[in-house]
Symmetry: C2
Subunit: 443 residues, 2 copies
């Protein structure tokens, strides 16, 4: 018999069907056994009645997370047992036969138990099955897809950026070393930056969803050592506001798609969908910090960059005053940004750069870039970067690159803020950090 | 003035427009200067007439790959100068002003020159701008997008598989070592296999587009050290033919989409679009090798696996007899496949596995997998794999996993065969191999 998905059972009332799924819950009630069975489409209550002796015999042994293939009759529930507003709350499957596809050992904890994060991560092959985890990664799949679709509509070409690179582009040991062939050392990319700039040459507008790797010893709720970045780069811009315009459209498309497809997730997480006004508010760094100082009556310590507290407070302000969960911050000091960042020709101490903050956290960073070859060489030298180490990349500039800019969104960060997760690691299905690759690393 | 894309110029005949782009070709003819200008949308012939003295002065210096912003009048060409069948072959842009956005140094070779592969790879920031390279990566972007769309329609959930892993899953030193934190060694993933099987637990049907890394010292036209794999895995299967059915649908969708969007590329590459009959032919390994022996009158040396020559010949046969550029080969010996491969219960020496060949090359490999925990442990031990090293992965089995299977398509390989590229490296925008990461590695 063809398998019926659990979400389709309501269309089969009164007939016999076959389903497959996991036992989420098992309850014994007198001689009857009730089970909540879960498949990729939903959950349904099943009952094994004493009259079905063979099924009853099989079910005796069945426990949580066993995988079953079962036949049964879809029954309407009596009025008094209907659970309103719950999917399949008005039906029940009367099981006629059970085949055990896979047994499960006793679980180390109930799947709906509150766990500390380490226990949760230690058991991801199990805990990813919780409704909460499935919600997070269902939303994440929608985010990444909506991000791509929006860029594709805006005429960007997707490409595959490399993860293995020849040098530590940013210096300072932020890159992991790889033992490459013939005793050569390679590195893991800390950004697809150089490659997406190269791709402006052939395609003008290019994007990549790329893994990047950070060897920084940061053990905060904001850091992972392996991340998924959603990067785009575009040519023939006037300045960084052209990049901001594309990004704002992308974010609108992402949020709208998530709202449209996953209202149920926002309900289950007991949070609101992100607020977006007609236009996202934009402040210069200076304006933002002046506002924070005034509104929160405090001294801003570092006027060269936004601290985590600055980010939280300007977001709080923007939400209240502008009804926006998003804020752009512009005009960061040139010295604080990467070497390829374009300085404002009218005031070279400041750069044509920006960050996008979302619910208190920087989720995107971008800028116009230097496009002139000589200027790039000069800038590298002023930063003690040896242009010879960048000879491959520099060909793009040597052979004519238009004014261009771009930005990079952290997938885990945007997912975490979308669902208001306390720790960005929860937004990585298989998080890697200082102390963990799947299992905890021995000390 | 707003920029007009070159592909839209035909709608602006008789008016003044502004364009931006690269100089593909420059030709002087008496006092006039002709240029072919290229942007992301197309190419147009521009002419600077002696009457536009300022533009003529500027253009004197202009060479190939300079980036220009220009104003001009869109003119119909006189009848005798129309190039039929060429985009913009019936118009010409009469330039009124030129702004140089970016100069280019003299090119090391003409962009349309025939290059040997090493020279081509040494200069990718330039050579990716050739029409041929843009065609390859435009088709590749379509392939990866169509692959995802097809799986999404078939109810697969996308997830991000990790690149950093704790162990060398396949053993034999096929994995690159990474210096992780605190003097720990991590490895680069050789496959997302373990993670997609884990994802069957939460989602039943999961897919990932993942980077994988191979430290094998193979310097053939079929090998790269960094690859993009398109992997899916599905639960509740009867056997590997359920996987084959999903894959065949995916491949049909990919080929149809590429055919629909890029007939011009097939024309430029002087090749046919791939042939697909009603149903892809399926042979067991034994059948395939018997056919080869008979049809090509030769002895098959290794009856345990397909050699590159076997792959080419069975594809030649399938194309001729069945009008198919695709062939499935099944029933590989269990001993020749990865440890997680499901042996045929009726004949355990053979596995429920398959390869998909495309125009002479294996582009996909898949199988039903072991789903029973005890059986998995036993199999690991029989292969001298220590289950303790797989304790994270094994949780998925310990806590109930349905019969499942999946497969993996190499993006570079399918791209290479789609366009009949001689070397798979040409299908990687930034190929890494034994001797190259961007630049050649010093010996």
């Amino acid at each position: 018999m063809q398998r019926t998905y659990i979400s389709d059972l309501k269309d089969h009332v009164g007939t016999e069907v076959s389903i497959g799924g996991w036992v989420s819950v098992r309850r014994d009630q007198g001689k009857m056994v009730f089970m909540d069975i879960r498949d990729m489409s939903g959950t349904v209550q099943c009952v094994v009645l004493p009259s079905h002796t063979e099924a009853l015999e099989t079910v005796k042994e069945v426990r949580t997370e066993w995988v079953l293939e079962m036949k049964g009759i879809v029954n309407k529930r009596p009025e008094k047992n209907i659970k309103a507003g719950v999917a399949n709350g008005d039906i029940e499957l009367e099981i006629t036969s059970i085949e055990v596809l896979s047994k499960a050992q006793e679980l180390p904890f109930a799947l709906d138990a509150e766990l500390n994060l380490d226990t949760y991560f230690d058991h991801l092959p199990l805990t990813l099955r919780t409704e909460r985890a499935r919600d997070i990664f269902t939303v994440q799949a929608t985010i990444v897809e909506a991000y791509r679709q929006s860029l594709r509509r805006q005429k960007f070409m997707e490409f595959q950026a490399p993860a293995l690179v020849a040098g530590d582009a940013e210096g300072g040991g932020a890159a992991f070393k790889v033992e490459y062939f013939n005793e050569k050392t390679a590195y893991l990319a800390t950004s697809p930056q150089l490659y997406k700039e190269i791709m402006v040459g052939p395609f003008e507008r290019a994007f990549t969803i790329a893994k990047i790797f950070r060897a920084e010893k940061s053990a905060t709720t904001r850091h992972l050592s392996e991340l998924t970045q959603m990067d785009f780069e575009m040519g023939f811009i006037k300045d960084h506001f052209d990049v901001i315009a594309v990004l704002e459209q992308v974010i609108r498309d992402v949020v709208s798609t998530v709202k449209e497809k996953h209202t149920d997730v926002f309900t289950r997480f007991k949070i609101e969908a992100p607020l977006m006004p007609e236009k996202f508010p934009v402040f210069t760094l200076r304006e933002a910090q002046d506002l924070i100082a005034k509104e929160f009556d405090r001294t801003v310590e570092d006027t060269r960059d936004m601290s985590p507290e600055d980010e939280r407070q300007i977001c709080e302000y923007a939400k209240e005053k502008f009804g926006s969960d998003f804020v752009f911050i512009t005009r960061f000091p040139t010295a604080k940004r990467a070497f390829y960042t374009y300085a404002d020709p009218a005031d070279p101490d400041f750069s044509l750069s920006f960050d996008l903050l979302f619910r208190g956290l920087e989720i995107n960073s971008g800028s116009q870039r230097i496009h002139n070859y000589d200027q790039m060489i000069e800038k590298m030298k002023s930063r003690n970067i040896n242009p010879e180490n960048f000879s491959f990349y520099l060909q793009a500039f040597k052979y004519g690159l238009p004014p261009h800019g771009g930005c990079s969104t952290g997938l885990e960060r945007i997912t975490a803020r979308m669902l208001e997760l306390a720790n960005v690691k929860e937004a990585s299905a298989f998080p890697r950090d200082l102390t963990r690759i799947d299992n905890p690393l021995s000390q």
